[in-house]
Symmetry: C2
Subunit: 395 residues, 2 copies
């Protein structure tokens, strides 16, 4: 039976692993990187688990059912509702989320430790996931939004889709819903990142909106069809909103809210962290102003034009900031730096050639290449690996 | 007849010079620094003037009347209305405005070139000028303020005087008036910096407020009693609001307004430049958001507590910022640096000793010492010149 990346065994194992431990689990993700998903699942199911907490979690889940069987059921259920599973080996995998591989947050707590990339996505909707998220901006904020927040959000979303960008948000009332409505009103593409199954998006009060999103954009989730929107899942989900997009805008947020938690991930990922100010007399803008005061990289934005100026700074679509590529290079681990150095200034090479040149094993090269690609430093073309235009040193 | 600093001749000359050329005139101020006010006035009146533009201005003004006589009349008029003239030799001179001596603004235009310190102030009100401005914050903004702006401004002013700070603003409707009203409501001291005579503060619609300010705070101006509030004088005046205070807050401002012009001076002076955000849908907040977007040192503030956190950063009343003194030192001209180096780590020296040690003439030493004192690097005590506590290098 084939067990390579993208095989049926790989898919089933990724779903099963997400069921055994919540998405983003640091130890599980590391094992998958080292041994692949099927071997990791085998290992977990036979109890060969270094961490006591993970062993306990796996034991508890396994008591509730057979992980592989649950995964097969989920896949069949997805098929019935017209949803699909996307894994890293698929062409439509949104490479940008792999930047979570190196995300480190200062404060402790499980939700700040377990921020590793997703193992898979459940997707409902036509457009290919990766291409849809490539030019995307997240708009997040308070559920208890004011009329001001709702107005500014729909204006912003409308302006972004008008310029050909995708809007990304959660599925909540308030700012999330206003973002999707604005994008839909503009005839654009919008993506709802859910913390539950794509077959039963939460909250039910937004179901008409979810139906329209599934018709015109995408409903996506790391949790299988039927999964409940448990409270902690929203916090786990937030890392995906931060990592899948070119930048994130917070419109209204109370102090220490979900939106400010999302922003901590955006800032840690060095992505444009944008904040819409509001009246200082409004409790719904306190979190926004706190972000701007306490995080100097967070930028005040007032319009879609401001937002595009900021996401342009990361150099993916507009002129790169002068020091942009150097800064990414400075943060590379040793192996990645060796591999990047082995890519010739002109022309393409194969991963095998890079492995020989950098004196690293092929598995390491392949793993690092994904990250280098996600960071926009190399590009995979038909003829092999080349330096990205902006990754090329000045001649 | 005595012509030294603070003498009657010095006072008359400073008033006459301000009448011959508008306050802040770069060439006039430099001549006064070099030769004193009376000698500079003599020189201007006999037509010995390097700049053609200045010569033309002096000729035109002289045709309208005798400068010395106008000055004597202004002094008598001030006496009658209970106003006084304050010159740099007076104990109540607000030393902080001398920082304008080294202010350089990027863009051209007369109003950006002629930003030198005032030659004198006309003052109406009891409290001593210098001590009143020592712990002061300017609050400026739009005349066409919204209800939101007025509310936030009076709250802010109230909070500042409650904590023992003086509020400084212009005399206009809108934000200026709200700042004074808030300060007066809090039983605090407030200072209106006018662009016309202190006997006829403009606009007349605020006359009840001006009367209350004169009773409880100060009305001050660089222009003599009777002077008209000419349009360009407001722009000249703005440099004083920026330089006389520990920091400036803009509450509401349209794009490219008087308040943003004041802020350019605050930023160039390296003083805390603070901005209250507002709804992005409000035209009256566009200038505020522009300031925050285009000037990273400008800081968003939402309350009096935020403001005091920012003015605390300049280290005059709270703990100094770690790099504060070094940054001021880095910007010293060569002569000032030599003099500062000649001040011993412990104990006091006389200006004569400093001149000998630094190998500079006494006049230069005295001139530079005023600036070093204004910058908070040295202190004049009964026994001579000493290093200011925060100017002292770590032992």
């Amino acid at each position: 039976m084939l067990t390579g990346p993208g095989s049926h065994a790989d898919r089933v194992a990724r779903v099963a692993l997400t069921w055994l431990a919540e998405p983003g689990h640091r130890a599980v993700w590391t094992l998958v990187q080292q041994a692949g998903a099927p071997a990791t699942l085998d290992r977990l199911l036979r109890g060969d688990i270094p961490s006591g907490a993970l062993r306990a979690a796996v034991t508890a889940r396994s008591a509730a059912g057979d992980a592989r069987r649950m995964a097969e059921i989920a896949l069949r259920r997805a098929d019935r509702i017209g949803a699909r599973l996307v894994v890293p080996a698929d062409a439509e995998w949104p490479a940008r989320v792999d930047a979570l591989a190196t995300l480190e947050l200062d404060s402790g707590g499980r939700v700040n430790r377990d921020t590793r990339p997703p193992l898979c996505f459940w997707v409902r909707g036509e457009p290919p996931l990766g291409a849809t998220l490539e030019r995307s901006v997240a708009i997040v904020g308070a559920r208890a939004a004011t009329g001001y927040g709702v107005h500014v959000t729909s204006d912003l979303a409308y302006g972004l889709v008008e310029r050909g960008w995708t809007v990304v948000s959660g599925g909540a009332f308030g700012i999330d819903a206003a973002a999707h409505h604005g994008a839909l009103a503009g005839g654009g593409t919008t993506v709802a990142v859910l913390a539950c199954g794509v077959d039963r998006p939460y909250p039910a009060g937004n179901s008409t909106m979810f139906t329209r999103i599934a018709e015109r954009g995408l409903l996506i989730s790391e949790w299988p069809p039927g999964a409940e929107p448990l409270r902690h899942r929203f916090l786990i989900r937030n890392r995906v909103i931060a990592a899948a997009t070119a930048g994130t805008v917070v419109v209204e947020a109370a102090a220490r809210s979900g939106a400010t938690q999302t922003m901590s991930r955006v800032l840690a990922l060095d992505r444009p962290a944008m904040v819409v100010p509001g009246p200082v007399t409004s409790a719904m803008s306190v979190g926004c102003h706190e972000l701007l005061r306490s995080h100097p990289p967070a930028r005040l934005v007032t319009s879609a034009a401001d937002v595009l100026e900021e996401v342009g700074r990361i150099g993916e679509y507009l002129e790169p900031a002068p020091r942009g590529p150097e800064r990414v290079r400075d943060r590379l681990d040793e192996e990645s730096a060796l591999i990047l150095e082995a890519v010739p200034r002109r022309g393409a090479v194969t991963p095998e050639e890079l492995a020989a040149e950098a004196r690293l094993d092929l598995r390491t090269v392949l793993r690092r290449l994904s990250l280098l690609e996600a960071a926009g430093l190399v590009v995979r073309t038909g003829s092999g690996i080349t330096l990205a235009p902006r990754g090329r040193p000045a001649d």
